[in-house]
C-alpha cells in the first residue's frame, strides 16, 4: 500500500510548526482517515474536527497542499505514492489548536441575518409552493456550513476593518435563499447593503470554486443580490417577485448552465 509523508500543522495561537508523519494508507482512504491513523498510532492529541466523514456536516475543512478542502472527501489517491502532503487549518480564522480553527465569526454573522417572515396561508390553511419556485432556494439549502467559501474570500481574509460589515458568501446565499423563499415577506434591502456589505464583493468567484456542494454562490446568489442594489430596490419589482413567482423579475433569472 502507498506510504505518504503527511506534513501536519501542530500548534496553537502562540505559534507552531509543520511536523512530518509517515503513514501507510489503505484502499480508498481519504485525508481524514490518515489524520485518524496518526491520532491512533503516533499523536493521540492531534486536534481536528469531524463528524460525518461523508461530506455532509462541513466540520473537517482544512487546507490540503494549500487547497481549501473537506478532509473527508479528499481521496489519498489524488497524490502520488511517496508524495509529501501538507495539512493545515483554514487560515482566515484564528487557530485554536492544530487543525482546529475558531470559526465563531460565522456563527455571529448567522445571527444577524433577518429571519423568515411568513406570509399568511392559503384560505384552506395550507401553504402551497410549486417545485419550480423552490428549486432555486433549495440550491442554497444544500450548504453544509463548511465555511470554505468564507475562508477564501479576500474581504474576510485580508480586510480586518471591512469584515465587520460583511456577511461573506455563505451568508449571501443564506440571504438570497430567504429572499427567494416563496413564503417570505421580509424586505432585507437595507440589511443587504449596510450590514451584509454585498457591495464589497467584487465577484472574484473564489467562493464558488471551493464550494464542496457546488452551489453557484456568485451566479445564483450574489449577483441577484447586487442587481437588486442596482435596481435601487424597486418596491414594485420586489412585490411582484414575492407574490407572482420569480419569473416576472430580473432577480430570479437563472444564470447557470447546469
Amino acid at each position: 500500500m502507498p506510504t505518504y509523508t503527511m506534513r501536519v500543522f501542530r500548534g496553537d495561537p502562540g505559534g507552531g510548526e509543520f511536523k512530518d508523519y509517515r503513514v501507510e494508507t489503505g484502499e480508498g482512504m481519504v485525508v481524514l482517515d490518515v489524520i485518524h491513523r496518526i491520532q491512533a498510532t503516533q499523536a493521540p492529541d492531534l486536534a481536528c474536527r469531524w463528524n460525518c466523514k461523508a461530506g455532509k456536516c462541513g466540520s473537517c475543512s482544512a487546507e490540503v497542499n494549500g487547497q481549501p478542502r473537506l478532509m473527508c472527501m479528499t481521496r489519498m489517491n489524488l497524490f502520488a505514492d511517496g508524495e509529501t502532503v501538507s495539512v493545515a487549518p483554514i487560515r482566515t480564522f484564528p487557530i485554536i489548536r492544530d487543525l482546529v480553527a475558531d470559526v465563531s465569526y460565522n456563527f455571529e454573522k448567522a445571527k444577524q441575518v433577518p429571519p423568515l417572515r411568513l406570509r399568511p396561508p392559503d384560505p384552506d390553511g395550507k401553504y402551497r409552493m410549486m417545485q419550480e419556485d423552490v428549486d432555486r432556494p433549495q440550491e442554497f439549502h444544500k450548504c453544509i456550513e463548511c465555511f470554505l467559501c468564507q475562508d477564501v474570500c479576500h474581504v474576510i481574509r485580508d480586510h480586518e476593518d471591512k469584515k465587520r460589515a460583511f456577511a461573506g458568501p455563505r451568508f449571501f446565499i443564506k440571504i438570497a435563499g430567504l429572499d427567494m423563499h416563496p413564503l417570505d415577506t421580509r424586505d432585507r434591502s437595507a440589511f443587504i447593503k449596510d450590514q451584509a456589505g454585498v457591495g464589497l464583493c467584487n465577484i472574484t468567484k473564489c467562493c464558488t470554486e471551493v464550494c464542496p456542494e457546488h452551489i453557484h454562490i456568485t451566479d445564483n446568489g450574489i449577483i441577484p443580490l447586487k442587481e437588486r442594489m442596482a435596481d435601487g430596490f424597486d418596491p414594485i419589482v420586489w412585490l411582484l417577485r414575492k407574490f407572482r413567482g420569480k419569473s416576472t423579475s430580473r432577480i430570479g433569472r437563472d444564470r447557470t448552465s447546469r
Partner: protein
C-alpha cells in the same frame, strides 16, 4: 482541581445534545418563557441529524388521502413487533404531521407534489408513501431549519462542550458538569430540569453509520444518575451501507434508493428478497416479480415489493445471501436503481448518493449497481421515559430522540426517527419547562460531587503512558461487531461480556498525553467509559432475551416468543454494578389493538 475555578451557568432547562430532538426541545422550552441552555458536543448544526437522508414519516395524506394517524400507528407497532410503548407510538403518529408543517412555517423547503404540497415518498414498512423529504438530504434541511429558527429564540448555546455527569440535589436533578472541548476547562450548569437528547451508541461497533459523537453519553448519564434504561438489546442494523472501499464501509445508503425504485440482487442477478417474506408481512407484500413490478406504477391494485420490508428483515436477508456465497465481490449485495430509473431522475432524487459513490468509490450509480451491506445504524432502546412527558425515572430528567427508548419497540421503521425527534423533542422541552416552573426554591449543587467528577475527568493525564484510548475503543468495536451483531448466541454474548469486563479494567488505566486544549486523545479516554457502559447494557439485555424479535436475533432462539412479547428488559445501576429485570409492557387499549390486528 481543588483550587481550579470553573465557570457556572444557571438555567431553568438545560438541553444536552443539539440534533433534531435537542434543538426542538430547546425551542419549545424557550417558548414557555423559561431560561434555556443548549449544550452541543460539536459546533451548532453538525449533529448526527445532518446525516439523515430519506425523510420524515408523517401521515399528512398529501400523496395518499387514505393515509391517517391510525395507519401510521399500525405500521409503527407492526414494524416494532408490538413491543413498542403504544402510547408513544400513538402520540408520534398523531402529532408528526403538525411537526412537519411547523418546520415548513419555519422555512424548510420540502420537495413538492404537483399541487404544491409537501411531497411524500415510499419507505420500508410504511403502507403509504408518507415521508416528507428533500432529495436525500432531509436531515440537513431539518437541522438547518431548527438551527436558524432556534438562534432567534433567546437560547444560550454552548458549543463544543461535553457533559461528563449529571448533578443531583437529593433525588432530583440539579444540573450537569462537564468541560469545554476547545479549552479543556470545566463548566458547571445549574438547572432545574435536564433534557437528554444525545443520540445513540453506534461507536461501540466497528461498522456503523454513526459519527464519533455517538458514544452513548445520554444513556450513560441517565444510568449513572439512577435512571432506568429499556430495550437496550434492540439495535438496528440498517441493511444498506457502502461496503467498499474499506475506508467508507458503513457509510449510509438511504432506504430512499429502494423507495424510489431500487431493487436488491445477489451475484446471480436474482431478486432474492422474494425468498425472505415472513408470514407476518405476506398479506401486504408481493410474492412474485410481476406483481412487484406492477406495484411501481399501480400501487392501488398490487402489493408492494419485498425490497421494502422493514429494515431488520432486509438486513438479515442480505446477511444470509452473503453467508450462502451469493454476495457481491466485496461482501455485500447489489442495489440497482439504474435499470429502472433514468440518470436525471437519480441525480435529482438522490444527489448525495450519486455524489458519494462517485467521489468515494468511483462508481456511477446511474450506470451501475451499488454494492451494499448492513451496518449498525440506530439503537431502539434507551432511557426509559413516560410517553406523554418524556420524563425519565429520576425527577427533573427528560429524554427524547434516539437517547430515549420505547417508541420503536424492537425495530424502527425508516423515517420514524426524524418524526420522533420532532414530536418528542417538543414534548421534552414543554414538560421540562413546566416541571422547572414548579420547582420551588434554589437548587444546590454539591461541591463534593463536582470535585469528584473533576478529579476523575483529569485522571488520564496522571498516566501519560497509560492504556491507549483509541486501542481500547477499537477492541470494544471489534468485540461488539463480532459478538453482539445482527445474529447473536448465548455463548458469544457471554464471551462479549467477559471481554467488556476486561476492557473496563484496562479503561481504568487509560492515559492521555499533551495538554487540555482540544485534545482528542483525552476526549476519547473519557468517551470510552460511556461506550463501555452502553455496550455492557446491550450485551446483558441481549443475553437475557431468549427469543428473536426485530433488531435482536438469537441463533439459539430463532423464533419470537409470545411471553417475551409482553415484557421489556429494564436496566439500572445500583451500588456500582448494572442490574437487570423484566417488567410488563404498558397494556394497549382495545381500540388501538384492533387497529394493529387489522389486515392490510
Amino acid at each position: 482541581m481543588a483550587n481550579e475555578s470553573y465557570e457556572t451557568h444557571e438555567h431553568d432547562v438545560l438541553v444536552i445534545g443539539a440534533g433534531g430532538a435537542g434543538l426542538r426541545a430547546a425551542i419549545e422550552a424557550a417558548a414557555q418563557g423559561v431560561s434555556v441552555g443548549l449544550v452541543c458536543k460539536s459546533l451548532l448544526g453538525k449533529a448526527h441529524t445532518v446525516m439523515a437522508e430519506g425523510g420524515i414519516a408523517a401521515a399528512m395524506g398529501n400523496v395518499w388521502p387514505e393515509d391517517n394517524w391510525q395507519v401510521h400507528f399500525r405500521d409503527t407497532m407492526r414494524g416494532g413487533r408490538m413491543v413498542n410503548n403504544w402510547r408513544m407510538a400513538q402520540l408520534h403518529a398523531q402529532e408528526a404531521p403538525e411537526r412537519v408543517l411547523e418546520l415548513e412555517r419555519w422555512g424548510a423547503l420540502f420537495d413538492r407534489t404537483k399541487d404544491g404540497l409537501i411531497s411524500q415518498r415510499d419507505f420500508g414498512g410504511h403502507r403509504y408513501a408518507r415521508l416528507a423529504h428533500v432529495g436525500d438530504r432531509t436531515g440537513l434541511e431539518m437541522i438547518r431549519t431548527l438551527q436558524y429558527h432556534g438562534i432567534h429564540q433567546g437560547i444560550d448555546v454552548y458549543m463544543e462542550c461535553k457533559v461528563e455527569r449529571l448533578m443531583k440535589d437529593g433525588d432530583r436533578i440539579s444540573g450537569a458538569f462537564g468541560y469545554w472541548r476547545d479549552t479543556g476547562k470545566f463548566v458547571l450548569f445549574k438547572a432545574k430540569a435536564v433534557v437528554l437528547a444525545t443520540g445513540g451508541i453506534g461507536k461501540a461497533w466497528k461498522i456503523t453509520s454513526n459519527s464519533w459523537e455517538y458514544t452513548g453519553d445520554g444513556q450513560s448519564l441517565a444510568l449513572w444518575a439512577g435512571a432506568d434504561l429499556i430495550d437496550m438489546e434492540f439495535v438496528q442494523f440498517h441493511p444498506t451501507h457502502m461496503v467498499w472501499p474499506p475506508s467508507v464501509a458503513g457509510l449510509l445508503v438511504t432506504e430512499g434508493v429502494r423507495g424510489d425504485g431500487g431493487t436488491l440482487k445477489n451475484k446471480d442477478g436474482e431478486r432474492f428478497m422474494f425468498n425472505y417474506i415472513p408470514e407476518y408481512y405476506k398479506g401486504e407484500t408481493a410474492d412474485n416479480i410481476e406483481e412487484a413490478e406492477r406495484w411501481y406504477t399501480d400501487k392501488k391494485n398490487n402489493r408492494r415489493t419485498p425490497d421494502l420490508l422493514p429494515r431488520d428483515m432486509v438486513a438479515r436477508a442480505i446477511r444470509a445471501e452473503v453467508k450462502a456465497g451469493r454476495g457481491s465481490p466485496h461482501g455485500g449485495v447489489f442495489l440497482d436503481i439504474c435499470t429502472r430509473r433514468p440518470a436525471d431522475y437519480i441525480r435529482k432524487r438522490l444527489p448525495s448518493m450519486y455524489h458519494q459513490f462517485k467521489e468515494l468509490a468511483d462508481v456511477d450509480i446511474t450506470k451501475e449497481p451499488m454494492e451494499v451491506g448492513p451496518a449498525q445504524h440506530y439503537v431502539m432502546g434507551g432511557v426509559r421515559v413516560d410517553a406523554d412527558s418524556t420524563a425519565a425515572t429520576v425527577p427533573g430528567l427528560c429524554a427524547a430522540g434516539e437517547a430515549a427508548g420505547g417508541m420503536h419497540g424492537s425495530n424502527r421503521l425508516g423515517g420514524n426517527s426524524l418524526s420522533d425527534l420532532l414530536v418528542f423533542g417538543r414534548r421534552a422541552g414543554l414538560y421540562a419547562a413546566l416541571y422547572a416552573k414548579n420547582v420551588g426554591g434554589r437548587l444546590s449543587v454539591d461541591a463534593g460531587q463536582v470535585e469528584a467528577v473533576a478529579r476523575e475527568t483529569l485522571e488520564p493525564f496522571d498516566r501519560p503512558a497509560g492504556e491507549n484510548p483509541y486501542a481500547i475503543q477499537a477492541e470494544l468495536q471489534e468485540t461488539m461487531q463480532n459478538l453482539v451483531g445482527i445474529i447473536r448466541t448465548e455463548a458469544e454474548l457471554k464471551e462479549a461480556l467477559k471481554k467488556i469486563e476486561a476492557l473496563k479494567a484496562r479503561a481504568k488505566n487509560v492515559g492521555a498525553g499533551g495538554g487540555r486544549t482540544y485534545n482528542p486523545g483525552w476526549h476519547t479516554a473519557l468517551d470510552v467509559r460511556s461506550l463501555l457502559t452502553v455496550a455492557e447494557c446491550c450485551a446483558m439485555a441481549a443475553l437475557e432475551r431468549t427469543e428473536s424479535r426485530g433488531g435482536h436475533t438469537r441463533d439459539d432462539h430463532p423464533y419470537s416468543d409470545d411471553t417475551w412479547g409482553t415484557v421489556n428488559v429494564v436496566l439500572s445501576e445500583r451500588g456500582g454494578g448494572i442490574s437487570l429485570r423484566r417488567e410488563p409492557l404498558p397494556k394497549m387499549p382495545d381500540e388501538l389493538n384492533a387497529l394493529v390486528q387489522e389486515k392490510a
